[in-house]
Symmetry: C2
Subunit: 291 residues, 2 copies
């Protein structure tokens, strides 16, 4: 019998704290962790976390209540923390609930907020780990949400669509290196849209507008949106995601499919995502660097 050294197995059964921002992904992660035998406590961000977290042991915190988060997680006996979910608005620091734990951290936090997302999260991560916790990623806690390379829904892209997929993938990586955004759309060899602070959904809506206004023309479904993690992104902190809405926006833009970075992007609500893709005849493909 071999010793099992994988962190996922090592942590099995250990209590887990889920720091939950918005959307269904925190709930999916909590379910997966429970199914793996872990004792889960969800700490939901007020105004962001889905009310569905009430089905689990949970507590709510406000932006900036870092001291309170720490107490809740310690009381639960958890050393492992997974951070997950969407944030609709960056906090306005004039409105942040400042507790003692936060006060100590505030100057660093404000400095961090001046930079890109990566800097904010990296700073938070260092703080958490400095306090003796272990930040774990979705890939470890809920590996079923993170597709490996290969078709996820439908067939792998071919021909012109595969060319578009490769260029969109390269473009998404290039803008990730700028800490600008994670996704890019290419249609028939032309870069239609690049994501920065507006986010993936708004970027896809723009493609629909370009097409509606005749700024770009194509018949039927063509083109690909690619989504990749930023090369410098810590996937334990902030893993990119696609969900049913991503598919719907890509469908409304007239695209043929979605390419995500294998192991670097998670799917949220896979059942609804698959249904939406199949309704529109679209593919979802997870790619590594060579495809």
């Amino acid at each position: 019998m071999q010793a099992d050294r994988s962190p996922a197995r090592a942590a099995r059964g250990e209590p887990l704290a889920v720091l939950a921002a918005g959307g269904r992904s925190p709930i999916e992660v909590a379910q997966a962790a429970q199914a793996a035998g872990r004792d889960v406590m969800i700490v939901g961000l007020e105004g962001e976390a889905d009310e569905g977290i009430a089905a689990f042991p949970h507590a709510f915190v406000k932006w900036g209540q870092i001291g309170r988060i720490e107490s809740i997680v310690r009381a639960h006996g958890a050393r492992d923390i997974v951070m997950i979910g969407t944030v609709s608005v960056r906090p306005d620091f004039r409105a942040v609930a400042v507790d003692l734990g936060t006060l100590r951290y505030l100057p660093k936090l404000i400095r961090a907020m001046v930079g890109g997302d990566d800097k904010v999260l990296a700073n938070f991560s260092r703080y958490i780990e400095g306090r003796g916790f272990r930040l774990v990623g979705v890939a470890e806690v809920a590996p079923g949400m993170v597709p490996p390379s290969g078709p996820v829904i439908g067939q792998a892209p071919e021909g012109t669509t595969a060319d578009d997929a490769r260029l969109a993938y390269a473009a998404a990586l290039a803008i990730g290196r700028l800490d600008a955004g994670q996704s890019a759309v290419v249609v028939n060899g032309r870069v239609a849209s690049l994501e920065a602070a507006e986010g993936t959904d708004a970027m896809l809506e723009r493609v629909a507008v370009l097409r509606d206004r005749g700024r770009m023309k194509w018949a039927g479904r063509a083109g690909v949106v690619a989504k990749c993690a930023k090369p410098q992104q810590d996937l334990r902190l902030d893993m990119p995601a696609i969900g049913p809405v991503t598919v719907e926006k890509a469908a409304a833009a007239g695209l043929a499919g979605i390419v995500i970075q294998a192991g670097g992007v998670m799917t949220v609500d896979r059942t609804a995502l698959a249904a939406a893709a199949e309704r529109s005849g679209m593919f979802v493909f997870a790619a590594d660097g060579n495809f």
Copy 2:
């Protein structure tokens, strides 16, 4: 006395054809060329060219009338052609007026339209030069429209604004390498917006929306929009431009200033551009790679 080998001097007095798309830039170029003693004929694209071209010897052509363009230019006795102006809509080939010159060229043209802008123009350029003409750039015909490195309006950016300017410049070059777009906005170290098929003005409007909706926050004027030529772009064919509207959109977005690539981006309607910048307290700076 030294021999003057500069192409600008060598071409002085030679007839010049201006292929004019939209906006005031063709007129500015024609004025500059006349002032330098050249005999100018403007060939305006119907539906795009400004009616102000009527103040010069001129003719109108439709999209795709390449044979007709060639006849007009030859009748004028011009070997030098400058192509300039904005195009609001890519032609729909079902609506293109096909003449004999175009018919010969159509398969190549259609192939070219499938790719990025660069491919379309490079293909057209090869055709023109293959017919014995010389494509000349704005920098040669109207050098006063193309700022060399240094402040164009106001002071050079400093401190955080200079940092934003450098990052925006690098981002604009990076997306140019993808043949995606020419401009990028950075505010307080964060990439706010990247241009692709929507164009610079729409990209700037997006920054105003991000700010209005609280997706990005800053006080007063901050941040920079940078505009650069694509590294592979032939500046004789399609030189990027800024004008008064660029300044107004950047002002509405709350930006502190504009950085353009020295020698790679022209200013259109410099007087109105300067007035708009001064009204908003914004700078315009032309930068080379090291600033």
